[in-house]
Symmetry: C2
Subunit: 458 residues, 2 copies
């Protein structure tokens, strides 16, 4: 019998409990499948007293992460602490000690992944992170191994289950943003402080990791254009729906000629029959485009202890195929240090969809059209309709300020640069007929032409 692969787990929370549970539930399978048997050898957490869904032999438990990081018997450190520090230091220490590391920590990877992967390579060990992006969807291995023959040109995905849940609840159940957020918190899908999710920080970490791997360029969290979803109202979503769209928090990474790269996360309008428009609730969905494959589309649970355990353990199993001291080839795709894109491009789209609330006087629509034209924004369609306060008061505080009936103006623009849109909106926001304190919404549209044309590839 081969020497067991000894696992030191740091961070015994929900995810850690899920990993231990799966190790136990599927013990028979894992013994049959793994070239070296998996052995849970130490478990470290700062709090050993709080109740957990699984029990662990007390002799394995410690409050001292160093006891795991320094133990020469341990082959693999599974880091499930989360957050930037001390998680980053734990990963670095483990690698320096010549241990493989498996982590679910997107924040550490999106900020320090390139250096840590280089360190792993130097130490001839592996730093694996399947669980960092897409939860149970094996997008990291699909991208870096299954699609390694492809020149990846574009990745588009719904990478944050919390935001997807909130937007789905707003659209499907007619909840206001605040109600949907509270609902997500009640179900445990959102943290008490939801900032990282709704400000698109979490999704930005994830798309930075994917873009860096896919394009072989040094792309970090701060390189990602980021817009949150907190300003979206139920009315906005309903108006978009009436035009045939679904609003999603969409993460996109694209590369064009000469390493011109665009990476961003923002609320985006998708045609309702776009594959990603069908990804609801807390699911994640990812489209990867490249040559020769054309495109593939992956959907699955984006978070949760079970799905994450599947991803974490797939990494541990991969490591069980290596004997101690065996030399490891470098990974096929990695995050390079300091190989920045030639040029940072604006995130592309098929045009914008604007929604402007005005006092409804007869000149308003003409004024909007004139302002857009002045700023070189081509207009495909513009319409005006009466606007009534049908929504719960927590969504809107506005009181009418004129004798005219207020109205909502919707504009479909042609393809246009974001700068021109922003300048036009600045002028619109200063117009005397705009409803005070209303938000003028400008969301990018990804339309049917942006659906991966996989048919042409087959």
């Amino acid at each position: 019998m081969a020497r067991p692969l000894r696992i030191g787990l740091i961070g015994f929370g929900n995810i850690g409990s899920g990993v231990i549970q799966a190790l136990r539930d599927n013990r028979d399978l894992l013994d049959a499948r793994c070239p070296r048997p998996l052995e849970l050898f130490r478990v470290a957490d700062i709090d050993l007293e709080r109740p957990r869904p699984v029990e662990v032999d007390r002799s394995l438990l410690t409050t001292d992460a160093e006891a795991v990081l320094r133990d020469p018997e341990i082959d693999v450190v599974v880091e499930l602490v989360g957050g930037l520090e001390p998680a980053r230091s734990f990963v670095e220490q483990a690698l320096r000690a010549g241990k493989h590391v498996v982590t679910a920590n997107k924040m550490v990877l999106a900020h320090h992944g390139a250096e840590l992967l280089a360190l792993a390579q130097e130490k001839r060990v592996r730093l694996l992170f399947e669980a960092a992006v897409g939860g149970g969807i094996p997008v990291i291995r699909v991208l870096t191994e299954c699609l390694a023959a492809n020149r990846i040109t574009r990745i588009a995905g719904i990478l944050n289950g919390t935001c997807n849940y909130i937007l789905t609840q707003m659209t499907a159940a007619g909840m206001s943003f605040d109600k949907a957020l509270a609902d997500a918190q009640m179900h445990g899908y959102a943290e008490p402080d939801p900032t990282a999710d709704i400000e698109s920080i979490d999704a930005a970490n994830k798309i930075a990791i994917l873009a860096s791997l896919a394009f072989g360029l040094d792309i970090r969290h701060d390189d990602v254009h980021r817009e949150g979803i907190a300003e979206l109202t139920l009315e906005d979503l309903k108006a978009a729906e009436a035009d045939g769209y679904v609003v999603k928090q969409l993460a996109v990474a694209e590369i064009e000629e000469e390493e011109q790269v665009a990476v961003g996360v923002r609320p985006t309008l998708l045609w309702k029959d776009h594959p990603l428009a069908t990804v609801g609730d807390v699911l994640n969905g990812i489209i990867i485009e490249g040559q020769p494959i054309g495109a593939i589309f992956l959907v699955g649970p984006g978070a949760g202890p079970q799905a994450t355990a599947s991803a974490v353990l797939s990494d541990v199993i991969a490591l069980s195929a290596f004997e101690n001291g065996q030399s490891l080839a470098p990974p096929f795709l990695t995050m390079p240090v300091a190989r920045k894109p030639q040029k940072r491009a604006e995130c592309a789209c098929d045009g914008y969809w604007l929604r402007i609330l005005s006092d409804g006087n007869d000149q308003t629509l003409g004024d909007v059209a004139r302002i857009l034209a002045t700023h070189h924004v081509s207009v495909e369609r513009i319409s005006k309709e009466p606007w009534e306060l049908q929504i719960t008061p927590d969504a809107w505080q506005w009181k009418p300020v004129s004798a005219y009936n207020p109205c909502a103006i919707r504009v479909h623009t042609g393809e246009i640069s974001e700068r021109h849109i922003r300048e036009a909106i600045r002028e619109i926001d200063n117009a005397r007929w705009r409803v005070p304190e209303s938000v003028t919404l400008a969301l990018p549209r990804h339309e049917s032409t942006r659906v991966p044309n996989w048919l042409s590839e087959t």
Copy 2:
């Protein structure tokens, strides 16, 4: 610089050309990503004269497959001949000679995969076959590596692009089966002899491979319950659509307690919002369910030279990570020889949907209900509607035989065994009021409750 990985390719057809094209187009990427550079060393085909989309240096070409199989310089044999023989012999010879083999040949694997994988293991080489199932979708690696920590309980998929194209054309463009088949042949999606596709032989090969790997049991082509799509009429599909369903050629593999396994391919009704119902044209789509992951859903191009090249080369790239003579761990999941399922179960479904054409006399509906009750088939819903010959004559040859207006009777049954349904249909087919020569259709339904309940897993 590491010694190159030398590739001997056997079968220089469309797929072979796609592989060579991709090797060339992505040369820069592959050089950067592969630990050992990939070298196309020999190319064998029985016909070297016919025109091909890529040119190959004549010094590499040979008509003698043995020249590839015996060449000690060659590390990897890529078998793209297709069909059972001589492809199987080529694979066996290459493995016996200690060479890795990469193949796209589902037929060889569904009939002889277990023996060939055992031989590869004995010879300490790899037999890889990502391209054999799902075309560009990396379902083999997802199943055997990414999901290796999971107890797989069910796989459901659209695995044959040709049938999916035919059914999509019938539903979307209102074509008869024969017209849709001719259209598929014109586009190159169907062979001149379409038997393997429309009789579900191809999909049966693919689901046998997936089931064998997923359940660790010896499941071959002949173990798969198989029904073709050629009897489906446009009218049937339209009637199903009116009831909210889409008809797909669905491959399903399920395992229950005590290794009771059901594996089948048959036309199946899916709710139109089922994930697999959205997979149109020549795309493939696969849902994999297991614990702890819950479920994931993969969609992509199911065939074609480009997509297949992506899959074939991912296997070749994986082999480039191994140095010559380095000992290889066994694959995590493999096809076992002679470990048959304990019991072969009937393919499960949520009940059947029947469509019966009758002469429309007043007793007919009551007669159908009585016959079903006699055979212990519970009925959830039964309806009768006038039936008119609206369809092109190539679809129906029938002339009314009675003075009554003909009608179509549709039945939704409850969950019921296939045996009882078949017995009931035998009696219905003998009823004097049945339209002569009409086909009494009984299709299984997979309804909303069968959609993977990934939400409960996250």
